[in-house]
Amino acid sequence: MRTLVLAIALAAFWLALSGHYTPFLLSIGILCVLITVLVAQRMSIVDKEGQPIELFAAAPAYWLWLFIEIAKSAWSVSLIILDPRLPISPTFTRVRASQKTAAGMATYANSITLTPGTITTGVTGDVFDVHALVKAGADDLEAGGMDRRICQFEGTATPTSERKA
């Protein structure tokens, strides 16, 4: 199932890149997709983490939300950079991720890093070490709004404490 999704995604990628739809190139494309899928299976990277197909449906709405968050925080970071006094208050903090799947947790960690002003510096179990440029950013993360949004995106609306590593 995941192999099929990967093959379809790769075929779409090939078609989008190629731009020349001659029979010769199309047949080579099919061959290349097959080779790639075989290599991916040999590397055993075709699994729940590599192809999180469960998340595809909810992705566009989530990305839109994330982009607005990025825009907001990028603006505030820009203001800090342009401020002659450079009002930064770097803070290290830890937050708990309540996602259940590895893909969900990686989404959370990457969303933290993508948002300017906060960076995930380490993952230990389900606890993230986060470096924030200003204290307010650390406070926001500790409040857990983004955590909840990603749980919703992942489909595990109720953050639970029971989870496997």
Binding site: F13, I70, V77, L82, L86, T113, T124, E162
Partner: protein, 124 residues
């Protein structure tokens, strides 16, 4: 029609350029490697996105636009992965961050812990 597209492109590219230059300026002004990473992420996220979106509007519905989308996807999925690896390596090498406050020893007992994570002392 073309004028509208041009106008939209201008509205996207000029702020994009602003964020690029601001981020690069932040790269110079910030005091240590961790804070510089925040400035760099302004470039990688908002600056790059706005610039590429402006170019996409110019390209219209063509394969060029799709390739630009791939560029954007590359930056969005793997920019943070690289930043994370960089921050981790810097911490591992004991590059001391300039800190106003360290909350890493914060108590995370908001629920029963299933993992060893929160019981440990903060990593170096």
């Amino acid at each position: 029609m073309e004028m509208i597209a041009d106008a939209i492109s201008w509205c996207l590219i000029v702020p994009g350029c602003f964020f690029l230059v601001t981020g690069a300026l932040g790269l110079l002004r910030m005091p240590d490697v961790y804070t510089r990473m925040h400035a760099a992420s302004v470039i990688e996220t908002l600056g790059a996105t706005l610039l590429v979106l402006g170019l996409i509007v110019q390209a219209g519905l063509t394969l060029v636009a799709l390739k630009l989308v791939f560029v954007l996807a590359l930056l969005f999925f793997f920019g943070p992965v690289a930043s994370h690896a960089l921050a981790q390596a810097a911490l591992h090498a004991d590059v001391k961050p300039v800190l106003a406050e360290d909350r890493r020893s914060r108590n995370l007992d908001s629920g029963p812990t299933g993992l060893a994570g929160s019981k440990e002392e903060p990593s170096p």
